[in-house]
């Protein structure tokens, strides 16, 4: 930011707003998801054929689906499912990616070239296709969704970890640590990781949003968790032929996905502003 700009730009109030809005939205959905584990307004399994396709407010807050299940209850349980898969995928992809990226940064040379080229190959392969192939090998279900989503996150985290890691590794005190005889693993754990944790956290938050989108897409194609576990993507897929008859069935789950992703993105942007003031207000 330059002095010139600072004069012209009004004081920015929106930064904390974004963070707060994102945090509130995310916390709200996480709380709903957690509550669904012990209580939902109506049971999410069990069918009530006589109550099928009731419009919103006439039966439950958001009406019922083609089997007479309460849509709001399904959305709550779907939130738990979405967040669980997204979190697992980010944890898996993030860990693998970070380790790979750090390894590349510390070792350099051939290791670096090879891992980064490997990331390029992974990146070039359209993620949805690898997910479809995985779905065939493992069969649809939670593990498939988690692995498929994690797979396309590995290169993302690897790149972030390598870039940020390389920045830290160039600093003098790392040289000092090396001279003191510390091994690569210790240097990575004691000096590099804590310093790039912020970057990784920001990336993880943003990737969580992407993971929720990806989970919805996979479930939409029938590669997500299996019934009776409710899933936003599968609800959308089921709703397709009911669009005219019962539009709420198509609108509600999509809105849920959108809110969850919006919350996480706002949160991620807000966190980035905090951790990296250089980028403040840029994105």
């Amino acid at each position: 930011m330059t002095a010139l700009d600072r004069v012209r730009t009004p004081r920015r109030r929106s930064v904390p707003k974004r963070l707060v809005a994102g945090a509130v939205l995310t916390i709200l959905l996480v709380v709903l998801a957690l509550v669904s584990l012990v209580w939902t307004p109506q049971p999410t399994s069990g069918i009530r054929i006589l109550l099928k396709l009731q419009p919103p407010l006439s039966s439950g807050l958001l009406g019922t689906d083609q089997l007479g299940r309460d849509v709001f209850s399904l959305l709550m349980a779907g939130a738990a499912n979405s967040f669980a898969i997204a979190a697992a995928a980010v944890a898996l992809g993030g860990t693998l990616g970070t380790v790979t990226g750090l390894l590349a940064a510390i070792r350099g040379g051939w290791t670096e070239t090879l891992t980064m080229r490997g990331c390029d190959v992974l990146f070039a392969f359209p993620p949805i296709l690898s997910a479809m192939l995985l779905g065939v090998v493992l069969g649809p279900g939670r593990p498939t969704a988690v692995v498929a989503i994690a797979a396309f996150m590995v290169p993302v985290f690897a790149r972030v970890a390598r870039a940020s890691g390389a920045r830290i590794l160039a600093l003098d005190y790392i040289l000092a640590a090396r001279c003191a005889g510390k091994g690569a693993a210790r240097i990575a754990a004691e000096h590099v990781l804590p310093n790039i944790a912020g970057d990784l956290l920001v990336q993880a938050t943003l990737q969580l949003g992407l993971a929720i989108l990806a989970e919805a897409g996979l479930s939409f194609l029938g590669l997500g968790p299996t019934p009776p576990a409710p899933s936003w993507g599968r609800m959308l897929a089921d709703a397709r032929t009911y669009v005219q008859l019962a539009p709420w069935l198509a609108i509600a789950p999509g809105a849920a996905v959108a809110l969850a992703v919006l919350g996480l993105n706002l949160l991620g942007d807000g966190l980035r502003d905090r951790f990296d003031p250089r980028l403040r207000g840029r994105t």
């Binding site: 399994s45 069918i47 054929i49 065939v136 019934p227 397709r240 032929t241 005219q244 509600a252 999509g254």
Partner: protein
Amino acid sequence: MQPIRRRRLPTLLAAAFAVLALSTAGAAAKDGVVIAMGIEPAGLDPTIAAPAAIGQVTWQNVFEGLTRIDRDGKVRPQLAEAWDIATDGKTYTFHLRSGVRFHNGVAFDAATAKFTLDRARGEKSTNPQKQFFETIERIEAPDAQTLVLSLKQPTGNLLYWLGWPTAVMLEPSSAEDDRTHPIGTGPFVFDGWRQGVSVDLKRNEAYWDAARRPQLSSATFRFIADAQAQAAAVQSGEVDAVPEFGAPELFASFKDDPRLETVVGDTELKVVAGLNLRKPPLDDVRVRQALMMAIDRQVVIEGAWSGFGTPIGSHYTPNDPGYVDLTGRLAYDPAKARALLAEAGHADGLDLTIKVPQMTYATRSAEVLQALLAEVGVRLTIVPTEFPAKWIDEVFKRHDFDMTIVAHAEPLDIGIYARPDYYFGYRNPQFDRVLGEAEAATDTARRLELYGEAQRMLADDVPALYLFVMPKLGVWKAGLKGLWANEPIPSNDLTEVRWDD
């Protein structure tokens, strides 16, 4: 969530495109027809691969058989105008029509018929119904118009089987290319296949059967997988007919449209939840009967197929000759089901998995079954199993399953329960005997009586939970006549289709 707010720019854009779209609507000529199908055939030769869609495009339109099956499921002469059956039921002498030519000009005669049947039963045959031809011991063509089949044993169904898509007559020099460029003797000539989009047919101006010359000059089969898109296409007039509409929940919306005619018919698709009798707990007939009594078929039909469909109590449809209504045999009675489960030692309930293909009818039915069985303490785990590849591998070949659910498409296929290695694992010598007698019986009344007996055995032994027959939900433009209302065999016979002015 608010619906999309319309702004000016998109409105204008959309309006511009609407004009483009409108200019093409209703362009279908009155002597041609566009038929929408949900599944694109894999190849166009029904004698070398199983998918029903192949016959639904080519059978009776491009290809014809020695006999044909009509809209009521009855066997009629076609390329064989008559036949004599020896008194021992083991020799069939067919008198073939003269003056029949294939679309490439080659004449049809006894030699071509012999070639076709030999190809179907030969060593290299990939005919999906090869067992139909196993009964044939010897084929002779004493002259161009006579074909003599000598059988190993009397086979009451032979004439019926010869009417199937898998037994259509091919021309030797073009047979290898039939999968991409079919050449038959039928009323329509193949006119092109745009993979993923459509197959075009045009009228065979030299068709041999003067009495049944088609009135349509051309026909197009459009492949539209998504039911929503099928609905839109028939409503906008882009297609003239959807003989087998894929989404029952949308079907009601056609009823109010005066431009459209809706017809609910029967198919041969029996939706059954197959059980694995090879291993506990489903080797116990009490458990199987309890499961059957836990199922309210009407709820299944309502939940899975919006109330369209006919409940069945055995592996037989109301279309089929000799049908017996057995839905009352093990009628819905959850209390009795619980008691029977307890008697079988499962008072604390039971855990089962069901392997479910991705087709809508299967996934929805499975969810309903899951809920219904939970009521009697059976915890059903749904395992999505990709169809056909994985399902065939795991369920059909390796018998690795507890329960599964598929629609059996083949007409009159009760005989699968007598096959030794079929996936249910049903072994009942008495059933095999009854069925063997039925298939050999040349007297119709006796045969139907035996089929009735076979149906009852299945209803009592429950090798599968018999759920419902898929309806044939037909929707087409008012004024289009001659399409089949029922589907005694998967088909779209266009011979008699015409526009009524």
